[in-house]
Symmetry: none
Subunit: 198 residues, 4 copies
DNA sequence: TATGAATGAGGGTTCATTCAT
DNA sequence: GATGAATGAACCCTCATTCAT
């Protein structure tokens, strides 16, 4: 019985390390966060990290997958029977446990890294594809209910909307002194006008 | 006159190095591209680089500024007296000398770096602000000509549109097998529906 | 009696670990074989190894002693009343449970290590001395029987012959495509001509 | 002209480092000698070593090749027109710049390493083959002059003799209190009796 | 007996940068 | 202007070993 707890402890330590790594990646970047810094943040010795992960690379990949799956999971929770535009936009600004800036920065790290690292690229695509299909299904359902312009291709439209959602975190980075809440409302408006039957 | 050429040679060498650095940053990331690799790509010795730039940091900053100013310049050329949506979207897919993927990757590097590096953040904001103001002016002009919904706040709308433009390069990274041309048309449609008077 | 089995189990586990260590030393070298790899090969946990041996060093020493004692034991079995050359050469190529290359490699590891590690050096000398004395006795007996040149010093001759025997495994390492059987016969010839009364 | 010296300086520094590495390998073993120790012995900083060698592995390989080529070169100098046994044995104990123990230890390191490292194995074989062919030619010449038993196969005999030569350094390692000079004479006797016409 | 979590020093290697030439 | 030798801190990772369970 005490025995049975061991794998759970192992898993929970893994998660602690991933969380620590995540914080470090935000502070220093995927490449800039050293194993030493991550271990320090996680409160473990440098060697011990390798009892939980085979390499720093593996940590990055797991973190990427977990982070993106988190987005996915959150989004999936809201897709049942809600008006289309609301659902689409609920994802971005209501993720729990993440402040907006954190969200945006890790995503941009992953987009940058995904451009030159095949594994990250694959993780990015796999997770995006998951959300995108939910989005496409939501759009198709909206079209059947007459809420969405039937002339829009669900696959392409979902891809574009996904990009729009993920672009929102750029706003505070690029433009200072912006009222994020107003911009959020504006994006909601834009998506609403885009989707509604003409 | 021979004298006068020397500073020009200096400047032209600087540009060569920046171009080499840019290629390396695309291949390895801002942090992953080492000074040695950059010098190799530029065909100069490691020590010599420091006759042109005081540090690697300075190279990154100059490259960021040049790259974003390039976007700015390109965009500025097209803003006079053209229909609004055309203007807005001309930037993205017609940049000369850059293939789309390259474009997107450096931008994401900069967004990621900008989240934790104040100088890069400032460069990002300064350049974005330049483009955004052009955009806002275009929108205001459009509103006066009756082409654009007068209810939209020009400042916020321009910021959102800028984010949408910069989000487009995400598409091929996140979704495989996408027809980029169709998505481009879809974005044009979205922006058109967003802006037009209701 | 159940009690009495425990120390035997302990001893048998020790031998298993030594055998595993031996395989690892062949694969990676004395220094290159890590405790982790040895434990893995032996199927035990890293901590548990230290219930059987106080250190990796101790494993190396015990393995060296066992290995060399194995040579000794094998050789000792054949020294009674047989023709000298036969005795001398029986050792090398008929050792059971060892293929020739394995044999040579561990020996060379030990010779290399013995040059800078006093304990290994002592083990090497002690075991060699054991075999050498048997060899010297065989030679002296041969001299008394008139089979061996009485002008040869038994001590020095035995040392030289021991070196010759241990050198044989070099052959396949240094020369490719060699007929080992023919070389073995050639060494027999050499030793025969060396020892016989002139 | 000062320019032309640079590559020579580079080469001379390489040799210094190789010599330092060689001393360290003798003290600590091929695997046991750390890059830090080698750099310390060579009087350079840890990073600087990599301006001269791409890896520690490359240092080992170059050292192996140089060392074995040194044996080769020395031996080649003595093969013309001298009595066979003298030639064969001149190599071992008269090498300049090497004390006997050093000689033996590096050789055993290489034999051990050669058993599990293909590159070292190849270097070992290539160099041995060089010496062995000289030896075979010497034997054939001796057979034609009637100094050597015509019944001996030159290729196999040369291989066996090479092993015997390289085995000599084992003597002081395995047997304490041995008179090396007497053993040397004994080996000369053995080889002489082996080769002479029967 | 047996585990595997934990350590921290040290492994080989790369880094941005400096400086004599 | 231009080189590349030189630095030493820091990189990711592995090591032999200890200890609570």
């Amino acid at each position: 019985m005490a025995r049975k707890l061991v794998p759970e402890q192992h898993e929970s330590k893994r998660r602690e390390i991933l969380a620590a790594a995540h914080r470090c990646f935000l502070r220093h970047g995927l490449q800039g966060a050293s194993v030493a810094v991550i271990c320090n943040e996680a409160g473990i010795s440098p060697g011990h990290l390798y009892h939980y992960f085979p390499s720093k690379e593996a940590i990055v990949e797991q973190m990427a997958d977990d982070y993106l799956a988190g987005l996915h999971a959150h989004f999936a929770r809201h897709t049942q029977g809600e008006p289309v535009a609301t659902v689409l936009l609920s994802e971005l600004w209501s993720m729990e446990g993440w402040d907006d800036l954190a969200h945006c920065r890790i995503l941009f790290e992953l987009l940058a890294e995904g451009g030159r690292n095949d594994k990250i690229h694959a993780i990015l695509q796999a997770n995006s594809e998951g959300v995108r299909k939910l989005l496409a299904a939501t759009i198709t359902a909206g079209q059947q209910r007459g809420e969405v312009d039937p002339g829009l291709d669900a696959d392409q439209t979902s891809a574009v909307l996904l990009a729009v959602l993920d672009a929102a975190p750029m706003l505070p980075l690029m433009t200072a002194g912006l009222d994020f809440e107003s911009c959020r409302a504006l994006i909601t408006t834009m998506v609403g006008r885009f989707l509604r039957p003409q």
